[in-house]
């Protein structure tokens, strides 16, 4: 027996190839959308990996420091460091903002890390060039994605920072590149008030008789100092000692310090379940729409191809072709269209992925699922045409 579907496809190859390419571009978009989601999950994972922390100690009842704002006193880390099971504890600040570079600015996540303590949690684990921050002020380690080079000067708020080191794929869960600066500078950047506001506050404080008491010298200065100083950070990152579970270490901190503590799994849950959940649903909607459009295209083209052959199908039936042979012929054509589409889609997604501004991660399982979905869509789309073909009356071939 010869392959009827194969012969028909060879005969009408132009239709198949062009429809296949159109379908393929749609499938390519679909695969890329899935890749965008995977990229976001990967960004979140990379963020947690690169923080080097086992536990995140944040303000009570917040989802900080990445998904919500959180502030804890910047001397808290001292008391956490001596809790059982704690190997290291370090302050960290996170602030997503516009960072000036030359006369442009890029969106970046500015991370404040404790200067002079290389390897503490929060520090970039690996540099691709340059060195870590050694001075307490005005040095920065920036990610390549920020477009920075060694020696560049970055402007964060009113201060300038020299780039001394570069990282690769250190990004926030939004995919924004990270810029690491010394903690003190970062605190200032995050909580800094502008000069006018400082002057206004000083004037208000001076006008308050409760603070401005000439009989207590130095009181006013102390109050003003405490108002303008910034003694908060967003989180304390904790690394635990081997042999301890994160639960064992987290529980006493929660209980005694009245703080919220997240371990790695919980943090992943927050980032993926909450921070990127809306984007994920958004992408999910797009995938559904794209699947429907693809199905419509396949169904339409298979339907027209079958309509064109109604006479021939009647003849085939009259001369004794089994219904199953005819159904299989139509199904095969639909599947071939799907396979062409998938190959074109996979290739176009692979070439397009690096061109996207955010990280697009194409994982094999998505391709596999996509392939399965394409075949399923093709089978479903051919149902209408197969039903129509099976209903063709062989008597139609005779006068």
């Amino acid at each position: 027996m010869i392959s009827l579907a194969g012969r028909d496809i060879m005969h009408a190859w132009g239709k198949f190839v062009f429809t296949g390419i159109g379908l393929g571009l749609l499938i390519g978009v679909t695969l890329t959308m899935a890749g965008v989601y995977r990229g976001m999950v990967d960004d979140a994972t990379v963020l947690l990996d690169s923080s080097g922390a086992d536990l995140w100690v944040v303000q009570k009842d917040t989802l900080g420091p990445y998904a919500e704002s959180s502030s804890v006193p910047d001397d808290l880390w001292r008391s956490i460091r001596v809790m059982p099971g704690v190997a290291q504890a370090a302050n960290a600040t996170y602030l997503t903002m516009q960072v000036g570079k030359g006369d442009q600015d890029v969106r970046a996540m500015v991370v404040g890390i404790v200067a002079g303590e290389p390897g503490a949690p929060g520090w970039p684990p690996q540099l691709v060039a340059g060195r870590q921050i050694t001075r307490g002020h005005y040095e920065a380690v920036a990610d390549l994605a920020a477009g920075a080079r060694l020696g560049d000067v970055l402007k964060i708020r009113r201060s300038h920072y020299t780039v001394v080191g570069l990282t690769r794929r250190m990004v926030s869960s939004n995919g924004d590149p990270m810029v690491f600066i010394p903690l003190k500078d970062a605190q200032e950047a995050q909580f800094l008030k502008d000069n006018d506001a400082i002057l206004m506050q000083r004037r208000r404080t001076e006008a308050n008789p409760a603070f401005n008491r000439p009989e207590v010298p130095g009181l006013l200065d102390a109050v003003i100092a405490s108002q303008t100083g910034n003694s908060y950070v967003n989180a304390v990152l904790v690394r635990i000692l081997p042999g301890f579970t994160s639960q064992e270490v987290a529980e006493p901190i929660r209980r005694w310090k009245r703080l919220t503590v997240y371990d790695r799994t919980q943090m992943e849950g927050i980032l993926i379940g909450k921070l990127i959940a809306t984007s994920a649903r958004q992408i999910g909607m797009f995938l559904v729409i794209l699947a429907l459009v693809s199905a419509a295209i396949v169904a339409f083209i298979i339907y027209t191809l079958t309509m064109d052959k109604i006479r021939e199908i009647a003849v085939l039936k009259l001369i004794g072709t089994r219904n199953r042979t005819i159904a299989w012929m139509i199904l095969q054509q639909s599947l071939v269209l799907g396979v062409i589409g998938f190959v074109v889609g996979k290739i176009s997604a692979t070439f397009a992925a690096p061109l996207f501004p955010k990280y697009v991660l194409l994982v094999p399982i998505d391709s596999l699922l996509g392939f399965g979905a394409v075949l399923a869509i093709c089978v479903l789309s051919s149902v209408v045409s197969i039903r129509m073909a099976l209903r063709v009356d062989p008597a139609q071939a005779i006068g």
Partner: protein, 236 residues
Amino acid sequence: MSAKGIRIERLSKRFGEGDTAVLALKDVNMHVAPGEVVGLIGPSGSGKSTLLKCLGAVIDPTSGRMILDNTVIYDDGWKVRDLRALRRDKIGFVFQAPYLIPFLDATDNVALLPMLAGVPNEEARQRALDLLTALDVQHRAHALPAQLSGGEQQRVAIARGLVNRPPVILADEPTAPLDSQRALTVIGILNDMARRFEAAIIVVTHDEKIIPTFKRIYHIRDGVTYEEAGEGRGFT
């Protein structure tokens, strides 16, 4: 009574029920011996196609008897279970239009039938080629239908009707699209094939130019057949 070839007894076909019922065939009697080509002639709407459809087992008669090649296939009900196999193995069809499969070349259009019956591809193609040679279109064996002239297409279609060596061939206005020269050629081929393969052939037509070529003719009008035994007529 020998029942080789085609024998039809009191065959009736009614379309619809009640007031709107149309009696398309009324107690039709007909017989065609193996090796014989008979004409079936009648005006439009007289029941010619209906008769071919009943014989071709694509519609159900209402009552009567049909015997093909010594087998009672219908006796107030179908006596054969697999009508599809019956069509494939016992009946060759030639239509008014060639209705060739556009994506198969001439050889495979013909070879498809034996292939459907399970004959290996090579053998099926050889049979097809032999027939195409007999019909003098072997030089177009690998052309697609769209590349063939009308006459060539019709010859390929005839080859398809003959390739399974069916004892019965039903041809519905096979010469309608052809000029008289080609029409006569086609009838010549059918006569030749009937003799060679011992096939009983019914040719439905109202094509004046080929009517004189039949040795025997059935006329049909309003579903009733009359035999016209024409002495001295016939294709030579």
